[in-house]
């Protein structure tokens, strides 16, 4: 085709317009990179800080005594810095919350993703989102005023502030993330799988539990891991309902978590005590890293399979 009257347009780099555009491109590129680096920098800084400030106390107390010591008495005349009670409480508390929250949240997700009428689903999903938005101090408050006295009366224990109360509060708190991630996973299951199952004469319920759920299992596993992460890092709500005494964990005893151990003493700590709190934070941080790695592995699995 002829391009009569149109001057040939240069398309090589070097003319002014192109140079200008290239410069803007580069600038924007650099700016965004910088913003990304700030995030990464924060993580690195926190990690570095935790490691540097967490290690001295561990060296002074001794790793085994610190991790496996059963007594925490940071303000006693002869102080003891064993954090086994905190570690076990965090693990038991999280496990308990998962045990209650996962079946509840998962079945709720199956209902919402597969069975619920659109109207009901909308309402329930907004409720779940709202649940996720409630500040943890409110959870703690309600737990303190309703759950703790309830447990005291129901189980006839002297004090309702206990591991059980913390587990129940955590179970509710992890529901939104479990429900939402499970719904996403269930909805990502190709419609063809379900059609194939129905066409073979399976009922809808059989189809959901024998085809949809297995096909979504890595996503659901990711939901569980996310719940674990949420539960293990929770501080304020569990501090308000667990009584916060450094006992070895027992369902009806007042207990202290890794998170609450740091939060409750930091304000007045000094010297080795303060350093030990940093060490606790380091242990907690390692837990979270482990959980993140697990989450990544699951998500990778779900992409591939």
């Amino acid at each position: 085709m002829e391009r009569a009257g149109i001057a040939p347009r240069p398309f090589r780099k070097g003319d002014n317009m192109a140079k200008k555009k290239q410069l803007v491109e580069n600038l924007v590129h650099g700016l965004f990179l910088l913003l990304g680096l700030i995030t990464v920098g924060c993580v690195l800084l926190i990690t570095l800080y935790l490691v540097v400030s967490g290690i001295p106390a561990i060296r002074e107390i001794g790793l085994a005594d610190f991790l496996f010591g059963r007594r925490w008495a940071s303000t006693a005349a002869e102080p003891a810095y064993g954090i086994l009670p905190f570690i076990l409480t965090s693990i038991y508390g999280t496990a308990g919350a998962i045990l209650i929250g996962v079946p509840l949240g998962f079945l709720c997700a199956v209902y919402l993703a597969k069975m619920a009428q659109p109207g009901i689903r909308n309402i329930m999903e907004s409720a779940v989102s709202l649940l996720a938005g409630i500040p943890s101090v409110v959870y703690g408050l309600v737990g303190m005023l309703v759950l703790v006295p309830g447990i005291r009366r129901l189980f006839h224990v002297p004090d309702g502030a206990s591991l059980l109360a913390a587990i129940l509060v955590l179970a509710v708190m992890i529901l939104p993330s479990i429900i939402k991630v499970s719904i996403t996973a269930l909805e990502a299951v190709p419609r063809e799988y379900e059609e194939a199952s129905l066409a073979l004469g399976a009922t809808p319920v059989e189809t959901w539990f024998r085809v949809s759920v297995p096909a979504a299992k890595s996503g659901i596993a990711a939901a569980v891991v996310l719940g674990v992460g949420r539960a293990i890092g929770e501080t304020m709500a569990v501090m308000m309902v667990s009584g916060n005494a450094p006992n070895m964990p027992d369902l009806f005893q007042s207990v202290r978590f890794l998170t609450t151990a740091v939060a409750s003493e930091m304000a007045y700590s000094a010297g080795l005590q303060q350093q030990a709190l940093f060490s606790i934070a380091l242990v907690l941080f390692l837990f979270i890293m482990l959980i993140n790695a697990a989450l990544k592995a699951f998500l990778k699995g779900s992409k591939e399979g």
């Binding site: 059609e195 194939a196 199952s197 073979l200 004469g201 399976a202």
Partner: protein, 251 residues
């Protein structure tokens, strides 16, 4: 020959849009019936009324009658799951479950209460043999079915449908996602199966209809324009529109 399925005055609406208009059609037992027509003509919709897969579409409305062995399948006392055992289906896109080859085939029988290992083994082997894929997969029954090629996956899906021992097998463009060699294998397979099953196949490929089917139904804009013996229809179409379509003037 017996008619295993019949449609009488069948109309179907998706919301306001009428997709099927007064379809009257008898499907002969142990034969292959091809449904042809341009996209959107209602042939797939008709196919899915035969095992009530259209029930899954929101806003669908159906009037008229579809009978399977003289029983109205849209009667409210009909157990849809039982119907779908009798009238199986193979989809356009191969859709094996993301599980092992064995579990794919055993899924249907297990759903219908067969739990004994020996019995399942037998059903799985028979279904895979019937679908002409046994020799290719017998050494990897425990492997994930998604590792098979597209053509193998489709034959696996046919085997999976056969494993619940249906009488009728509906195939919704089963070869449109496959290469020519896989296609011809599925065609051979279909022809081999018609002694024991009744096959209704939707196809875009008129040569395919001519090659494998006994009867052909030509759909256009929701109407059944012409229905009869395949050879006769392709040689001497009764309707101008059929002639125009099979000679490639539109579609």
């Amino acid at each position: 020959m017996n008619n295993i399925m019949t449609a009488r005055d069948l109309c179907l609406w998706y919301g306001q849009a009428q997709a099927l208009k007064n379809i009257n059609m008898d499907i002969a037992e142990n034969s292959i019936t091809a449904l042809i027509g341009p996209s959107g003509c209602g042939k797939s919709t008709f196919l899915k009324t035969l095992n009530r897969m259209n029930d899954l579409v929101p806003g669908v409305k159906i009037t008229g009658q579809v009978c399977y062995r003289e029983e109205d399948i849209y009667d409210k006392n009909v157990d849809v799951n039982q119907l779908r055992r009798e009238v199986g289906m193979v989809f356009q896109k191969p859709n094996p479950f993301p599980m092992s080859i064995y579990d794919n085939i055993a899924y249907g029988p297990r759903t219908h209460g067969i739990r004994k290992r020996g019995e399942l083994d037998e059903i799985v082997e028979q279904a895979l043999r019937d679908a002409a894929i046994w020799d290719e997969v017998k050494d990897r029954l425990k492997k994930n079915a998604l590792g098979l090629s597209g053509g193998q996956q489709q034959r696996l899906c046919i085997a999976r449908a056969l494993a619940v021992k249906p009488s009728v097998l509906l195939m919704d463009e089963p070869t449109s996602a496959l290469d020519p060699i896989s296609t011809s294998r599925i065609e051979e397979l279909a022809m081999g199966l018609k002694d024991r099953y009744t096959i209704v196949i939707v196809t875009h490929n008129m040569q395919q209809a001519l090659r494998i089917s006994d009867n052909t139904a030509f759909f256009l804009l929701g109407e059944l324009v012409e229905y009869g013996d395949t050879q006769t229809m392709f040689d001497q179409p009764a309707d101008k529109r059929t002639e125009a379509y099979i000679t490639g003037r539109f579609g």
